[in-house]
């Protein structure tokens, strides 16, 4: 690249971005979103098959997704395939791409996405679904799998939102259900078949694949049982743009069996598997060099439950002077102790998630935290010198009453009092309240969504009851209504997504872009009512015909009944197996001795 002699007036630059793309880049916000050039980017010229990995949100969000990093590293480093990436263009870029007829390109080669063999989407949640259509459209790939032919990529969906694939079913050729690490080689091999039909047929035989309209049985969710004997991603792509989080990520544990009845991730990623501390520490050491970060985050759904947490923290901190280690979440019942032992490196603020405002409701959701534990955790936060405390709650939980909502204000009042007494007003307190959306494969899958009017009423109650000076934020009820409709949608719910997209819905997870009126119009046009799916527990639920999540319906029903009775279910890693149905046939809990 540098034939340029010092002081020369000649051009030094090679590798110009193609002119048709450069023309667009000159006119958009943050053009670096579309050009790649990150640390540890992989290039495999001439490699086959060519796979494009996408996350249907803007670059800055997508680049932080650890799931996509796993796929990218494994496909590029351990298979013959070349994996490239594309994220969802921001509306300013999308408008220019359409105006100038420039199809979606990948960050690695700047070549059109549409020319790849397989286009894999990691689907995080329902409010990204219109972005999937946006990306298909910008790439020039026909929306419906049925319309795709030999020259089109196979479009494959995965990630947590495929727990119910129906709202996207016709847009995808196939869905992969569960953890895919150990199936990637088979997927790559399937792509070698000589025709599209044969490639799809080969994919059908990969365990965990569900092909809409083709598969005769629900796909069994796949569990990566070699998790504990495999190193985490050691050479992640590190953005050159300012990142949301600038830390090296070591996934130390997968799965959580605390058994919160509202939590889809807790049911979806069972059973618990832990990586040995040695593996975590070695990974941290390499990651510090590869990323240039000075902070390591021990990632899992509940890192305080990782058996090796204390040893891993101590050893990683000792790797180099100045290395900090953070845990993404703390348990309230042990927060006081954790803050002292683990969280000394945590910068600024601490997040605690009591989720519900009264003991009864917390028992019903199996959160099992009591008021004294909460108070102790808050006191420890402020006494520990943390500058902020963020409390997470939900409203709209099954069985919730106005009294439970008043309980949230009471707990915020306790925290505000402690902020004044213990932190002497130096700490910020904020409360974030989301609206609960019942999700597939959880004990509350049989419950209905609380509805917009109930949620608005409770938000008003809470706003009025909140102590002054406590910052409170709510999820947009309308966005939750859309999320609930899609999360519980069955066959045909895709029409709502497509109609909303046609009317202009994009980036629905972004408050500045979410336009409820488009969804209302789409609902009217398709005859699909928003938020009203009434599911009966004696019926087959829509997602049960596509996905076998491992947790059995009888376990989920029993858990729902226990919740209604306010009974707690223990974490199976501490005692008795609750017979959720996940373990067996080579799948089992795999925790450190």
């Amino acid at each position: 690249m540098n034939a340029h002699a010092p002081g020369s007036l000649d051009s030094c630059s090679e590798g110009w971005i193609p002119d048709e793309v450069a023309r667009l880049l000159a006119r958009v916000t943050r053009p670096g979103r579309y050009t790649g050039g990150e640390f540890n980017l992989r290039l495999k010229p001439g490699a086959s098959p060519r796979i494009v990995l996408s996350y249907p949100d803007v670059y800055e969000i997508g680049i932080s997704n650890p799931g996509l990093q796993i796929l990218y590293a494994h496909l590029n480093d351990a298979t013959p395939a070349a994996a490239e990436r594309a994220y969802c263009p921001w509306p300013d870029m999308a408008a220019l791409m359409r105006a100038h007829a420039v199809p979606l390109w990948t960050l690695e080669t700047m070549k059109p996405v549409a020319g790849c063999d397989l286009w894999g989407f990691t689907l995080p949640h329902e409010l990204t679904f219109t972005n999937v259509l946006e990306m298909l459209d910008l790439a020039g790939v026909p929306f419906h799998a049925a319309e795709r032919g030999e020259g089109h990529p196979i479009v494959l969906g995965g990630g947590p939102a495929v727990a119910n694939p129906w709202p996207l079913a016709p847009f995808f050729d196939a869905f992969f259900i569960g953890e895919v690490e150990h199936r990637l080689d088979e997927i790559v091999k399937a792509l070698a078949a000589p025709s599209r039909a044969l490639r799809l047929q080969a994919l059908l035989s990969v365990p965990g694949m569900w092909l809409p309209g083709v598969s005769e049985r629900p796909a069994q969710r796949q569990v990566f049982m070699a998790f504990s004997s495999t190193a985490p991603v050691l050479r992640p792509v590190v953005p050159v743009l300012e990142a949301v989080h600038d830390r090296a990520i070591v996934e130390v544990m997968r799965g959580c069996t605390s058994g919160c009845r509202f939590c889809q991730a807790g049911m979806w990623y069972r059973p618990v598997r832990e990586r040995p501390v040695d593996l975590a520490v070695e990974a941290a050491e390499q990651l510090l060099s590869e990323t240039g970060c000075d902070e390591v985050s021990l990632l899992s759904l509940s890192s305080c439950d990782y058996s090796g947490v204390e040893e891993a923290l101590t050893r990683i901190r000792a790797l180099r002077p100045g290395v900090r280690v953070s845990l993404p979440s703390l348990r309230i019942d042990s927060a006081a102790e954790s803050l002292e032992r683990f969280a000394a490196d945590q910068r600024g603020s601490v997040t605690l998630a009591p989720e519900a405002g009264t003991q009864e409701l917390r028992d019903a959701i199996n959160k099992g935290v009591d008021d004294a534990q909460f108070e102790e955790a808050v006191r420890a936060t402020f006494a520990g010198g943390f500058t902020g405390l963020k409390l997470y709650f939900m409203i709209g939980l099954p069985g919730e009453t106005d009294a439970d909502v008043a309980g949230i204000a009471r707990m915020a009042g306790t925290a505000a009092r402690l902020a004044k007494d213990v932190a002497r007003g130096r700490a910020r307190l904020s409360v974030a309240v989301s609206s609960y959306v019942p999700k597939a494969h959880t004990p509350f899958q049989f419950e209905s969504f609380a509805g917009a009017s109930v949620l608005r009423h409770r938000q008003r109650l809470l706003r009025e009851a909140m102590p002054r000076h406590v910052r409170i934020s709510f999820h947009d009820v309308a966005a939750s209504l859309v999320e609930a409709t899609l999360a519980r949608g069955g066959p045909g719910s895709d029409r709502l997504v497509e109609e909303a997209w046609r009317r202009g819905a994009r980036f629905d997870g972004w408050s500045e872009h979410f336009r409820f009126a488009l969804w209302e119009d789409a609902a009217t046009a398709t005859g699909i009512e928003l938020g009203t799916a009434d599911l009966r527990s004696d019926q087959t639920l829509p997602w049960e015909s596509a996905v076998a999540a491992g947790v059995t319906r009888s376990f989920l029903s029993e858990e729902r009944a226990r919740g209604a009775r306010g009974e707690l279910t223990d974490d199976c890693r501490d005692g008795l197996c609750a017979s959720c149905g996940v373990c067996g046939a080579g799948v089992e809990m795999d925790v450190l001795p």
């Binding site: 690249m1 540098n2 340029h4 010092p6 002081g7 020369s8 007036l9 000649d10 051009s11 030094c12 630059s13 090679e14 590798g15 110009w16 971005i17 002119d19 450069a22 023309r23 880049l25 000159a26 006119r27 053009p31 670096g32 579309y34 050009t35 790649g36 050039g37 990150e38 640390f39 980017l41 960050l107 590190v238 050159v240 743009l241 300012e242 060099s289 590869e290 990323t291 240039g292 970060c293 000075d294």
Partner: protein
């Protein structure tokens, strides 16, 4: 502590980084290479690395300059340069390290040479460049968050030339900053594009050479006093 001048090129994907992101990418390159940067004093210590002449977003740079303070006990600059090259992201390439000593260098720009490609009527672009040569004064208004100011481009932009290339006209020019600031490349490109009635899209913009003064000690990086391989 010791000050280094690191020259580097910025091209391809890295051209689209903002000034801050370029500085951050450079800092991360040092961190990945295991070459420590000295930290500033104060409550929130910051790495002592700065880029004295911001490069516009979208522009390549053939020989950019970073001023960086490093601890005295570092490996020799040639070894550090090798590590930095291996650790840099695609598009950013460390070229040479000039060891300055313990005096903080504050290099100032004498002249920066640019080139870009303008699409559209090549004759019109050439005519616009010729017109620029004959004008005595070309006053333009700049509106920024700091307010409005007027500047006479003729006081800053020199050596304007147009040359046909495949797909358009290469416009080349030099900007000479003064004590009150400098014109921006886009301002001159907009002027010429406006006169020529072609699209002012900054394409293949490249800063090809920067002439510095006050680089203690000795000649500018461009004169080849370097430890490059």
């Amino acid at each position: 502590m010791t000050w280094w001048l690191l020259t580097f090129s910025r091209a391809a994907a890295a051209s689209y980084l903002s000034h801050l992101d370029t500085a951050r990418a450079m800092q991360r390159t040092f961190a990945r290479a295991g070459v420590p940067i000295a930290l500033s004093q104060g409550m929130r210590p910051k790495p002592r690395l700065s880029l004295p002449l911001p490069l516009p977003v979208g522009a390549s740079g053939c020989e950019e300059l970073a001023v960086v303070e490093v601890p005295d006990d570092l490996p020799d600059p040639a070894a550090a340069l090798r590590e930095l090259r291996a650790a840099a992201p695609p598009g950013l390439r460390p070229l040479a390290i000039i060891v300055v000593g313990d005096q903080h260098p504050r290099p100032r720009v004498l002249e920066a040479r640019y080139a870009c490609v303008l699409e559209g009527d090549a004759g019109a672009v050439r005519a616009a460049v010729e017109r620029y040569a004959t004008e005595v004064s070309v006053v333009r208004e700049r509106v920024s968050p700091k307010g409005r100011r007027t500047l006479d481009l003729k006081e800053y932009v020199v050596h304007a030339a147009a040359e046909p290339v495949p797909g358009g006209t290469r416009l080349s020019f030099a900007i000479r900053p003064r004590d009150d600031g400098a014109a921006r490349p886009q301002e001159f490109i907009d002027l010429i594009a406006g006169w020529a009635e072609v699209e002012p899209v900054m394409r293949r913009l490249e800063r090809r050479r920067v002439t510095w003064r006050d680089l203690p000690p000795g000649p500018s990086p461009g004169a080849g006093r370097s430890m490059s391989s």
